[in-house]
Symmetry: C2
Subunit: 122 residues, 2 copies
Amino acid sequence: MAKANPARICPVAAFQRMISGKYKLRIVWDLKDGPRRYGEIRSGLLRGTEGSAEITPRVLSRELKALTASGLIDRKDFGEVPPKVEYRLTRKGKSFVPVVAAIRDWGDRHLSEAVSLVDAAE
Amino acid sequence: MAKANPARICPVAAFQRMISGKYKLRIVWDLKDGPRRYGEIRSGLLRGTEGSAEITPRVLSRELKALTASGLIDRKDFGEVPPKVEYRLTRKGKSFVPVVAAIRDWGDRHLSEAVSLVDAAE
DNA sequence: CAGCATCCTGCGTGATACTG
DNA sequence: CAGTATCACGCAGGATGCTG
């Protein structure tokens, strides 16, 4: 079982590592309404960030695996062809939704309109 | 002025960008108790992640600037020598604290003991 | 449809040294 | 003390093409 690290591990830092990457949080958020298929998640990632190109399979696949490894989501493969795979939140993942909701809520209030990130940069 | 992007910008994605990096969240959390000096923040980053080495000035400096640009923290320079600079949360930054608290709280409950990130990796 | 294989690039992060 | 200047490196993330 890991290494039985008795020391503090700073939940905030752990969280940072866990959701590192550009899409993990959005994926979790997308999954809050129920299971979704690979392609659906992919499509969902497009809406809301028209500026960027489509997420590549390589990246999405990695994010999905990382989330699975973190225990936030679960992969369900409906055998055979044509391939059909669904991803759904685990219990842990579901417990995480309110946190993302809080994030989304805050973001809605404080950075939906303008400010920062763009003009304040240089 | 930015670009007056009228479309949805997905608060979650915006959040991701805003707190991207390994230390931003922790810095904000450290600042919740009041203003702190550059060196204090640096020291604070050490506790809780004994695995990694000390944060380098270059990195800390950038994180601080990014947070300032995001409008989460504010830099107060007490003129002259010897240099003394304090960083404190802005109003926006303070409103963000509860969110980090939620994150920390969740992390405490779900990844303080063991699991993920280590053994589930490969 | 749901991926994997390969190659490539930028940037986030770190180490070290120097300065006002 | 509070940074900046350089150099270096690994990895996240994207592009393209292929497969079961």
